[in-house]
Symmetry: C2
């Protein structure tokens, strides 16, 4: 209930956008973005209002102020550009503008030729009051105006002209009376990231499978030799599954059989052994120094190395002995291993976050992150974050990013939608998505629209993966090479962030372990592979082309402009992305059918493409290197999955004929 | 940023519905309503959760608790019935339910025939822990279960049966461990009103025009004589424009001319003279005692008297001399009268809420409300609330309803949508709407859907008025008697709350003062009228019939179930309302064309009407007293505005044939 003390303020500020969950969470932007803020701002009565948008670095107590403009229906808008990474804040202030009110009323009365002599005195009074707070020079100017409005010698028209002049308005804005201003109750937060948080091209690779010859355990040095290959394809993030010592107890064998044979390397996610835990490097990969050198070398190729944060332990992890209180013990004196009844994962001990020692546990895990940051890592892929408390992640990510605002966290939470969104809200920079299983047109359209055209886009940055070491989808299994090409184009053009698990992907590996799971046959998770990367059937050159198109076309570096267009064939999907200034417009058509040629008529929203009806335009296919002259909304397309299953067009507007230009200006 | 101290809690409660503006405002319900609350409730990991909904009277610190049930996609639902008027609170609590988790896992493992011997020990441990907080008797029972689960003599199947039994589950719910429960951060508020806040039938009348013979000033005694007329028509709220002394200074003459002639009575909204202010009665109407007697008399006819709260003054109001600081003074020593440049209202002085003495002003206005409550008034129509501060109304209404929870405030704010909604949110029980100007099908559908089928319905109770003393719409002016009948049916069936300004309405008064405004010719606002209420062309009997239908059919007593159905004719509008249990289903078809007969096919959403495809049903027209046998979605309708321009059907389901009943059960 309202207190009488609030009687002085009359303004309501509500419906602020963007604002996530009543301001509980930050919105996300990248450096250089223009942050546009809108709000409903209104008061009782008919007085004129003024409003400003305020913003600041979180660590800087001083606000910068920009005026807001009135739109319609009590809606106001303002914007600012953020030029620094890190946390920022924004809020709004609005006030009853007595001078603006007076000025508007005077104009109406003057036009109706009413007596305004008392109005002049009222205006003079307002100017005099404002002048009390003015600089010496402005004060003098304002006093001159006060005298003019009081003067009996000046004519009504002269006074009116003065009262309505821009110079008077400008100084009255400068010294506006904000004693009863209303400031929005919340200081909303923005996390500003570097560009890679929004636009990144990931390549996941098991370093142990990189040896130049079969039968050897790959090393970080072998990875160095693989850098040109990865860089040429156009990837800029190289993500490694866990690189730590692997446990021996209950180690899984090839194809996930419960007992490993001698020599089986085990899964890298069973972290920790006598050789060390989360801060150690698996000896067969090399040394910590080798790893640091790989990071440096990768930078020369424009590649950042990302590692896996998998907060779980093998039974041999040093934590088990050193911190038994971080695990859950059963009545028979054993540690509770991971299970999802009736499934059992005896080679993995989850950490028990409900332990009384959770403060130590949190601090230790934070120190793991800091350790790898100190080795040069700035991107972390986080394994199963949804099985650790939300509060832990919110604290960890907030804390790390305060010291290292350039760090990027990718959430690998293939779980229920609200849990995925919560993880994104509380701080993850990017998130895996359901894209992996969305294959038909309506579900792709519905899902990508939800991700990019609703409030979700304020906090959730999708990272689209056609495959992962855990997931060989039915579509890829069944569709072979055309399916891999289709899914690649979709991931790379629907998602400014996307990634593949290679070389399985470019080599179109599509053999499943069995008919019930999505597991690869002879999964790299349980054995060392030797991939024939020079295989002539590799999609390598196609991927290279697509990634080149991504780099060259700024429209593809964000998901915010994604717009779907109609096609009269359910197997063809059509969408566009564009830069805000329309200088770069990309139109994509993909045949979702990996078997048959499909054709149809696209029906384009011309406005989305920056075109006007009647204007002809060229579309240049950046994949096939062919140019077509189109006109109007409808065009015929035909795509053969056995050749190239997609068009990636760049749209070039022709110059408008004179007659049309006139009609646009109107 | 999260504090480490929150490390113990793992549950998120969000997306709570209903919740207005993050809990800033109350939702509204009436006594006996079932309040349904939903929320997204989830935690990390795969543990099972339990959740309860809590509610209490605001003045009672003790919560009542009801279990919530899981729906789908992390959504939970609970509900409770409120049996008392006044402010109530509700919130939610959820916790990780370790026993439920254990029970679910045990069931899966047992089904997979896995070894569960250690699981029994874990379950025993959970039961033992819970038993520490149990009553002596329950503790004994639970200790027995602990022993059974530990016992080597019991068979696995016996232990499993015990562990999964309902009796164990029930006691474990009773003593569930809520130490780490998460309680929703907000205690959301509900205002519970009496039924009239949702269902009311208003009749606005100028008491001074009620004299039995022309040429006399009507009195409260004359109003008493009018009560049978109003009651017979079926109205239950009789609303009077201001009944206070009227000012003489700058008094307006007939048809709003700026200088009154001698004997002109002035407008009742120019409140105050030497004869008194807002707490006085206009002497020509009678005495305060007469007014109180009228209230009592009206009650005998089932009618409540509502008065106008018009917080403004004539220049002669005692406040002007006693409290000059409550007005705005101009530099020439005069008080600022109301103006909306270039329009001037010299007979009205607005109160200056920006005065330094606003506390006194607020208290005085509160005392005005209390004064009339003490005379027996419980319903107030508030004039132009949007020209007084929001904070004032929030305080006033909150404060009054704390002492008098049965008071109803109707907001007369014909202004911008966000301002109207704000006034409703901050406490007004009912609100005037744009219905007055919504005449064509799409705009009626769009607007009523917004009011009744979105979050707006949580706080905004529409009160639909086809006319007011200020507004004679184009539609009524042009359409004559059929238009009045059409607008009456729409108002009375679209709005559970509706009202008319009579006798102008029932007598189909449609003469405009001029072509530029919506003012009546010879408006009753500026002169005393003598209405010929016995005129045979009166719509009186039609109104009587419609109001009778409203009273007899509970479906029409709420707007929440409003649903529009398709008709293949833009001049025909079709909609239904129903009770929750489908025992009363009303289907309305209105011809919006006051000139011509219109016909078409309605296409009904059968499910909304509680019907199944293939089921035949009767529709009884309660206006024409005719019954039709219908079947399926489509039916032909034809309405002649010169006869009866609407159907108000009650839908009666026939008994289902046997075959269909089976298919429904499936």
């Amino acid at each position: 209930m309202i207190e009488q003390e609030e009687g002085g303020t009359r303004i309501v500020i509500e419906g602020v956008k963007p604002e996530i969950d009543g301001g509980q969470f930050s919105i996300k932007r990248i450096i250089g973005d223009r942050v546009v803020v809108e709000a409903d701002i209104f008061a009782d009565g008919h007085d004129a209002l003024s409003a400003v948008l305020l913003y600041r670095r979180e660590s800087d107590p001083n606000w910068t102020e920009v005026p807001m403009e009135f739109l319609v229906n009590d809606r106001w808008r303002g914007s600012f550009v953020v030029a620094e990474i890190g946390r920022h804040r924004y809020t709004l202030t609005a006030w009853i503008d007595k001078f603006k009110t007076w000025r508007q009323n005077l104009a109406k009365k003057a036009e109706a030729k009413q007596d305004v002599s008392i109005d002049f005195l009222e205006g003079a009074h307002l100017i005099k009051e404002a002048s009390q707070h003015a600089t010496k020079r402005d004060k003098q100017t304002m006093q001159g105006w006060v005298e003019s409005l009081h003067s009996n010698k000046k004519r009504k028209s002269t006074k009116t002209k003065l009262a309505l002049s821009d110079k008077v308005a400008a100084l009255m804005v400068k010294y506006s009376d904000r004693r009863f201003a209303t400031t929005y109750a919340k200081e909303l937060a923005i996390v500003i990231d570097r560009e890679k948080a929004r636009f990144s091209t990931w390549y996941e690779m098991f370093p142990r499978s990189c040896a130049s010859e079969p039968g050897y355990h790959g090393t970080f040095k072998d990875c160095e030799a693989r850098l040109p290959y990865i860089s040429e394809m156009g990837f800029d993030v190289l993500y490694f599954p866990p690189i730590h010592p692997i446990g021996y107890a209950s180690r899984k064998g090839k194809n996930n059989v419960s007992k490993a044979k001698s020599g089986d390397p085990g899964t890298p996610w069973a972290i920790g052994s006598d050789e060390g835990g989360h801060k150690a490097v698996h000896p067969q990969l090399g040394t910590l120094e080798d790893f640091r050198r790989l990071i440096t070398k990768a930078q020369e190729y424009g590649i950042e190395v990302a590692i896996d944060l998998a907060f779980q332990c093998s039974p041999d992890h040093p934590y088990v002995k050193e911190h038994p209180d971080w695990f859950r013990w059963r009545p028979d004196g054993t540690v509770q291993y991971a299970e999802n009844p009736p499934k059992k994962y005896q080679d993995i001990y989850p950490l028990e976050f409900e332990t009384d020692s959770w403060r130590n546990l949190w601090e230790e895990l934070r120190s793991v992150v800091v350790f790898w940051i100190e080795q040069g890592v700035r991107i972390f892929r986080v394994d199963n974050p949804h099985t650790k408390p939300f509060a832990f992640w919110e604290w960890l990510i907030g804390d790390i990013k305060q010291d290292y605002p350039d760090v990027i966290f990718l959430s690998e939470a293939f779980t229920r939608p609200k849990v995925m969104y919560r993880l994104a809200k509380l701080g993850f920079s990017q998130s895996y998505t359901y894209f992996t299983w969305r294959n038909v047109k309506w579900e792709l359209m519905q899902y990508l629209t939800e991700l990019t055209q609703t409030d979700v886009q304020e906090f959730f940055r999708p990272n689209l993966w056609p495959n992962t070491p855990d997931i060989l989808s039915d579509y890829l299994r069944d569709g072979g090479r055309p399916a891999f090409m289709i899914r690649l184009v979709l991931a790379a053009t629907l998602g400014a962030n996307y990634g593949i698990y290679g070389p399985a992907f470019e080599l179109c590996e599509n053999r499943r372990k069995d008919t019930v799971s999505e597991e690869y046959l002879d999964s790299e998770k349980y054995e060392i592979k030797h991939w024939d990367i020079e295989n002539p059937n590799s999609c390598r050159s196609f991927i290279t082309r697509v990634n080149h198109i991504r780099r060259e076309n700024p429209a593809l570096k964000s998901d915010l402009s994604l717009c779907f267009h109609s096609v009269d064939n359910e197997q063809l999907i059509c969408y566009s992305k564009r830069t805000e200034d329309l200088s770069n417009v990309i139109l994509v058509v993909v045949n979702l059918d990996y078997q048959y040629k499909q054709s149809g008529w696209v029906d384009l929203s011309l406005e989305e493409l920056g075109l006007v009806p009647g204007q002809s335009y060229k579309v240049r296919d950046l994949l096939a290197d062919a140019t077509y002259q189109w006109q109007g909304r409808q065009s015929y397309v035909e795509l053969d999955p056995q050749k190239i299953p997609a068009h990636i067009f760049r749209v070039h507007r022709d110059k408008l004929p004179r007659s049309n230009r006139a009609s646009i200006i109107m």
